[in-house]
């Protein structure tokens, strides 16, 4: 197992190097002279030239690349034109809001998705099963930005139960609608996943044994079938967290939630490419880390998996 963990960590290093190559190549494609953006709109050509040199844009590409990797290793993700400040602190400042939304979103996924999945699996083919499965199909198909707008319209404007977007210092009433919108798609996904996994497990021998012992249905499912189904769910949750944390771009934009996703979208329109690419890099880092953590955790959760 030690060997496996080492292998995964090595994999992480290789992938992150690849990520750095790709992001660097893209930053290189940016049209226009970054020095000019950096210098500000009214800077003189002489000032632009000095900054061009200061940024090292007149050196060979490979030197610029190693310089880039070196800087990233020292947690220097670049310099934001818009904020006239380093990129990483700008991302970290917004990150708690994104993390909060992501965790609340996962909460809704689980709180809505698991009960639906269990109940559907308990009576496959029943009316409940069919209704919930159609419901999950519809939820998965609804564009998240549209769902968010409809929620804002109905529960913010028509029936003013919740504030109309914004962070509000992270108060629960501000968090509720964006987290719900975010969680609904996932809830549908998890309920389908759980239903499928349970339907796969329930005919197995050890479950039949539990039935034969005369245990109640609730106990059979919750105590005997669920632990095994949960490993699949937890794995998937770990994966999703990476995506969530990497910026729930659409939801943050619709609800004016001040996370890294909204910041990055704003940056796109400000042509603040370093901030965008810094966020992309940050997101990639999170996703890769989440992958490795889940892989390693998996070896503990499910000892049957041998490596």
């Amino acid at each position: 197992m030690k060997g496996y963990i080492l292998r995964r960590l090595l994999w992480m290093v290789v992938v992150l190097f690849g990520v750095a190559v790709v992001t660097f190549a893209i930053a290189f494609m940016v049209p226009g002279d970054p020095a000019r953006l950096y210098a500000g709109t009214n800077a003189s050509p002489a000032a632009v030239k000095i900054i061009h040199h200061q940024l090292g844009l007149d050196r060979p590409v490979y030197i610029q690349f190693f310089d880039y990797v070196w800087r990233v290793l020292h947690l220097d993700f670049g310099y934001s034109y818009r904020y006239s400040a380093p990129v990483l602190p700008a991302i970290l400042q917004r990150f708690p809001a994104t993390a909060e939304l992501a965790i609340a979103g996962v909460f809704f996924e689980v709180a809505i998705g698991l009960p639906i999945g269990i109940l559907a699996a308990a009576r496959p083919g029943s009316l409940w099963d069919r209704i919930t499965m159609i419901f999950t199909f519809v939820t998965l198909a609804a564009p998240p930005f549209w769902l968010g707008l409809i929620f804002l319209f109905v529960f913010g404007a028509l029936i003013p139960l919740f504030p109309l977007g914004g962070y509000g210092g992270g108060l629960p009433q501000y968090l509720f609608l964006p987290a719900l919108t975010l969680g609904l798609g996932g809830a549908a996904y998890y309920s389908r996943l759980l239903r499928a996994v349970l339907l796969d497990i329930l005919p197995k021998d050890y479950i039949r044994t539990a039935w034969a012992k005369g245990l109640k249905e609730r106990r059979v499912i919750l105590a005997h079938a669920m632990p095994n189904a949960l490993t699949v769910i937890i794995t998937q949750l770990g994966m999703d967290l990476g995506y969530f944390l990497a910026g729930v771009v659409v939801i943050e934009s619709v609800f004016a939630w001040p996370g890294i996703g909204k910041q990055a979208v704003d940056a796109v329109f400000n042509l603040d490419i370093p901030l965008v690419m810094g966020t992309v890099l940050f997101g990639a880092l999170l996703i890769v880390s989440a992958n490795v953590v889940v892989d390693i955790a998996y070896t503990f959760i499910d000892p049957r998996v041998r490596y």
Binding site: R36, N42, A43, S44, V48, R82, G169
Partner: protein, 552 residues
Amino acid sequence: MNHHRVRLMGVTVTSLLVLAACGTTTATTTQPVSGGTLNVAFKDDPKTLDPAVAYDTTSWAVERSIYNGLLDYKGFTTQLAPDIAEAMPSITNGGKTYTFKVRKGVKFSNGREVTADDFKYSWERMLDPKTQGPMTGGSFWGGITGAQDFFNAKVDHISGIKVIDANTLEVDLDAPNQSFLNIVAMPFGFVIPKEAVAAAGADFSHKPVGTGPFTLDKWTAGQLLVLKKNPNYFGKAAYLNEVDFQIGVAAEVGFLRLQNGQADLVQPDINMPSAQYIQLNSNPTFKGRIVRNPNVDIWYLGMNVNMAPFDNKLVREAFNNVVNKTNQLKVLNGRGVINNGIQAPPMPGYVANYNPLGLDKNGQNLDKAKALLTQAGYGASHPFPAQDLVYAKANADSDNLAASIQQDFQAVGITINLKGLSFPAFLDITGKPNSTALSYNGWIQDFPDPSDFIDPILTCSAANVTANGGDVAFYCNKQLDQLADQARGDTNATERLKLYQQIQDIVAKQDFPWVPMYSTLQTSISGTRVHDYALHPVWPLVLTNIWLTGGK
């Protein structure tokens, strides 16, 4: 095109002004009460609160409450008045030397008294290339004696800014400039204390110290910016105890919040989008709370005179006959007037119903356009090449305005492709020579003087600046430049306006670098507990008059 917008209410009485009089302030019957927190919804953070760097209305809206300069505008007018200066300066040496007396007892929020040295320091810092502010290298302040040497790092100080004694500041200009006092009143002229800049290091923007009615209490980027009343303010104290800027709130959400009482104002420097205007204007509770003011802006299509096919004057003239300006204004709910010239109401020099080409009521003459295109050599055998129209996307209205132009040109057989860009990208691409042929631009005054509608956007120097000159048509006419130079220093107001008429005729009747379209009416609204909110003709937001029902 400019990213700052300041308004003027003015000297020339126009139909717009009469309209504006209907709802400039919210009528109140009770006496103002102190106290309470005002909530203002903002879309973006201020770019910076460093007055040497900020050149956008969002930053200015906040800066105005933190800092002061030597001069300001009297109340809600465009008349200049002393602020930190004791009185208006004495002007000597044929209009080239200005002597300011600094008022005694004005204190920074750190407790220290303001002296003439502080102004010399603040202005030199603002003009220092190391500060990387937009005024570096010339622009409005470049006419101060010795400024050019300072820009080129030949000297450490600007010889034309002299501290005579602790309370006397003298400024020498190379040539007389009738708008210099307006320039002094711009936010770039705000005074800041040297020791606070040193203490803040590179981050004065987040640790600002000024003399204004409010001080910055807290600023969490993307979330909240809090101003607290400054107890040591030298002027009349504000009624409000605190102002909370809720950041990251799109206008659509902001106006909904305002109706639910979660916000009291929505970013006043951004005009109300059509949708919100329609909705609030038909809401009995809020209809009367909308305030209106001329925006002192001109919206036009810029045609790059160096690029085909617009290097042909016939083509440019043809384009001047195509745009349906009534449709443009309909997208904006009729909030504005058709403008076929270059000066905006109510700027001195604006001529109402100016129509040098004899266009119809929509600003069109399609037959003339077709004839001119034929004359220019375009027709069935040689069709007019498709053009990209570059425009800045502010909100849904931007796309709609551009789409309307597209439709107009279809009627004369010209294909227009729409290229909507973010504002910085728009500035970037329209400011570069030979990169944008056709663009949708707006120019909004920096200060209430007609020179501001010529010098930065229609002169040869504005076309020659390699980095983002304001002359998007890259139009350069030596005769016009000469007239502009003459007008800038002319002390005879009537003669001066005549020169500006001449310039307007050259542009709109002879050379056609633009298709002038319309000037807009600024609209804004306040929540139900807000009293005495008014639009300032120059400043994006003035907080000192505002008070809340019951002081809470």
